[in-house]
């Protein structure tokens, strides 16, 4: 490598490193805005603004879904296994919505701490499973939901 080329390579790599540091710091400073949703523990700590359009996310707590038989009203708890958030929603839930599955709810946090959702999005994870495997796991005494521990890990990282 000639000295001229070596210098050029050093300049390019140096500029790249600087740019990477700049982008990295920017993203770090903006991390609260880049996160798509607040987790229940952040809401419990009072990080989330009240009466403003926000998103919250976590797992639908097992056995917490209460449907009103007369209307489309549904209430459930979203949990990150540290704290819980009560969500009220009126509308049609996505096909993948179920207890133990991840959700992202879009709406407003009311002053009494309940979340009034305008929209419920299902969140799926990387645990894809064909019928036989799912059956085999159930026979062995596991529930497929046992494998959906990702939001717990996400909560630990915070």
């Amino acid at each position: 490598m000639t000295p001229k080329r070596r210098q050029k390579l050093a300049v390019i790599l140096g500029a790249l490193a600087l740019a990477a540091v700049a982008v990295g710091l920017t993203l770090y400073a903006l991390r609260a805005n880049i996160n798509l949703f607040y987790s229940p523990v952040q809401i419990a700590l009072g990080d989330a603004p009240i009466e403003r359009a926000i998103r919250a996310g976590g797992m639908v707590k097992e056995g917490s879904v209460v449907r009103d038989p007369q209307s489309l009203d549904v209430e459930f708890l979203v949990t990150d296994y540290v704290d819980e958030l009560a969500v009220a929603y009126n509308g049609i839930l996505p096909d993948l919505f179920r207890e133990g599955q991840g959700v992202v709810v879009v709406g407003k946090l009311s002053t009494d701490g309940r979340f009034i959702a305008d929209k419920v999005l299902a969140r799926h994870d990387e645990n894809y499973m064909p019928p036989e495997v799912s059956q085999a796991l159930e026979d062995a005494g596991y529930s497929p939901a046992d494998y959906q521990d990702q939001p717990v890990e996400a909560a630990k990282r915070e």
Partner: protein, 248 residues
């Protein structure tokens, strides 16, 4: 060793050797993609754990396309670096022909993801970190293509496009780790070559075959299009004129 690498920098050598490699790449990629498509669409069981059913089969296009989108950008940036530092013209030609393919792959990944999002998430778009950084990747590809053609002299366009490609590479780790660093609607990585697959073999193997098939397709297409680019740019060279004479 070094002389061997240096030979690849010669358009004439590249043109001759790629003619021999290219048919094999096409054959392997076609076999892999055909096998993966039939296996993934017809023989792989449906997904039940999360109630996705057959819509999960989009993974067999979505994941390979997303892999390729990022790999093509890294390859393009590497070729740009070789061009900028060592002034290898073939590297610039390769970078030129990679950009449109990368843009197409990024679009396929975004589009198939949107189609997948409707039945699973309940929305086709969400400004989460993974989707947004992938959209930025598409704009980077388009920017590289546009910048290259915005100059009257090719040299200027090549340099400007190379700089954008090299700086744009910073976006790649952001795409990759976006699902780990931030809360996103998008799931974490399904498919890694480094750790034990999370999905059972009958779902994972066709995906592996599709990813490898897409990579072979990328290599074959890049070789083919670089050859055309060599002929276009070296049209005044003696060896190209001899080649044309022979063909007539």
């Amino acid at each position: 060793m070094w002389t061997f690498i240096h030979k690849w920098g010669s358009p004439k050598w590249f043109y001759a050797i790629s003619a021999k490699v290219q048919p094999w790449c096409w054959a392997v990629s076609l076999i892999l993609i055909a096998t993966g498509t039939v296996w993934g669409l017809a023989f792989t069981p449906t997904e039940v754990n999360q109630g996705q059913g057959d819509s999960f089969r989009i993974i067999y296009v979505h994941v390979p396309a997303a892999f390729l989108a990022q790999s093509v950008f890294v390859s393009m940036a590497a070729a740009s670096l070789v061009f900028m530092v060592w002034k290898v013209k073939v590297a610039d030609m390769a970078a030129t022909v990679m950009a449109p393919f990368g843009a197409v792959m990024t679009f396929v990944a975004l589009f198939s993801g949107a189609v997948w999002g409707v039945p699973t998430w309940g929305t086709w778009w969400m400004w989460d970190a993974r989707l947004t950084s992938m959209l930025i990747l598409l704009f980077l590809f388009l920017g590289v293509i546009a910048l290259r053609s915005a100059f009257t002299r090719r040299e200027g366009g090549s340099k400007a496009a190379s700089v954008l490609a090299m700086v744009g590479v910073i976006n790649i780790p952001i795409i990759k780790y976006s699902v780990d660093w931030w809360f996103t609607l998008h799931q974490s990585a399904t498919f890694t070559l480094t750790s034990r697959p999370l999905m059972p073999m009958e779902m994972w193997l066709p995906l592996l075959i599709m990813v490898l098939g897409f990579y072979c397709f990328f290599i074959a297409l890049t070789l083919m299009r670089t050859r055309s680019e060599i002929l276009r740019r070296e049209i005044d060279k003696r060896w190209v004129r001899d080649l044309i004479k022979e063909a007539q």
